[in-house]
Symmetry: C2
Subunit: 237 residues, 2 copies
């Protein structure tokens, strides 16, 4: 197909396609004349992946290029592709190295306890150690009691992630699933956790504290129950 | 204690404490003279929470103020505090309303299937629906097969979250745990998921393709093996 047809098939505007070609995110098409080239279904797929990395994953063009190179290097072990994808979508400060001796020791103990084989540079180690540190420094050591259950749930989710990867027909498709799943999985879990939290809160705390009107669902609660002098309209949910 | 002692006890610099007082994040101390006031342990606790909200949760001062007001309104039902905390730490575009009919229908079906009681305005609904949409638009419908396992894991984690809340001695402490747990939990899970992914990858895909060096577990490798001046540390693993 021609570049205009590629744009129509992928839903990506023509100027963006040209930009991705210039930036080496998208491989060149097969030349058909001096200034024309032909593109195939691989290009449509690649464009969708580029948009996933940049729009959903929030990756920079440079980081997206690095991830795509890992996918294209088909002799690269899958574990290495996973590592690159993980670090690409783990660029926030949270995932940068932790200097917390307490947090690092707690996470090392967890890794040991669960028999997890994991490299020192795994971005999740630093993130988890930083969270442990934050629980303590913010005066919430009670949250540390949750780590084991979180770890068990994380192992379940990671196993499902790898199931999806293993179902792919070839290494290139596996690598793509790794990248897309790493990007989208955090967001999916964060969303589902909030839904489940509301459900379980409504089960365990169905009754309002004494002295307050019953409010089974905050979404439908009357504003009248709030102190009318409250200057914060945000609290009106 | 005096404000300088409050700074030493909390680890928060004096100018920041004065800023939080002006911005109504921190309650005023008890006046002891025309321009002096006395502060207590409650102020130390509150300062740690403020830092958690702003530094760890990435909340703006205005959003942090809203969350703190919810905690202080001790007649507010816990479900409502949860809702405010959830929305405060769910300000990214991901959690804003979804216009994806397909995604919304898929998440509604999941909520129905699991028997979850959840309000329309739950930010997790929009986030999960947006992820479903992204899986499809980026050409990764295979990831949709993961939703049920993610949902089961999210319910486990949410139940643990509420266990930690229920263990608190009073409503104010419960509200604080809700806020801190909502802020820190996403990050903790994302970190542990990355660790578990690496472990399971190494189990399921243990053999590197020919031509790549064996990479034993770096967990026991000396830090010296990581070159901090490496301009492309991503490629080093």
């Amino acid at each position: 197909m021609r570049i205009s047809e590629l744009s129509a098939a992928s839903g990506v505007p023509l100027p963006s396609i040209k930009y991705y070609l210039r930036e080496d995110l998208l491989p060149a098409g097969t030349p058909t004349s001096a200034n024309q080239a032909s593109y195939g279904e691989d290009h449509v797929r690649r464009l969708k992946l580029i948009r996933a990395l940049i729009d959903v994953g929030g990756l920079s063009v440079a980081t997206a290029r690095e991830v795509l190179q890992a996918i294209d290097a088909d002799r690269m072990p899958l574990a290495q592709v996973f590592g690159i994808a993980q670090r690409a979508v783990s660029q926030s400060e949270l995932f940068s190295s932790s200097d917390s001796a307490v947090g690092t020791a707690r996470i090392d103990a967890l890794v040991e306890h669960r028999g997890w084989a994991v490299s020192e540079g795994n971005p999740g180690r630093a993130a988890a150690a930083n969270v442990v540190d934050a629980c303590i420094s913010t005066g919430h050591p009670e949250l540390l009691a949750l780590i084991d259950e979180y770890a068990a749930a994380a192992e379940t989710v990671a196993a499902a992630d790898l199931d999806a990867v293993a179902r792919q027909p070839n290494v290139a498709a596996m690598a793509e699933t790794v990248v897309a799943g790493t990007v989208l999985g955090d967001a999916l879990f964060a969303g589902l956790r909030r839904i489940a939290q509301e459900h379980i809160t409504s089960q365990r705390f169905p009754h309002s504290p004494p002295g307050t009107p019953a409010e089974p669902r905050a979404a439908s609660s009357p504003r009248a129950s709030r102190d009318s002098s409250d200057p914060a309209p945000h609290a009106s949910r």
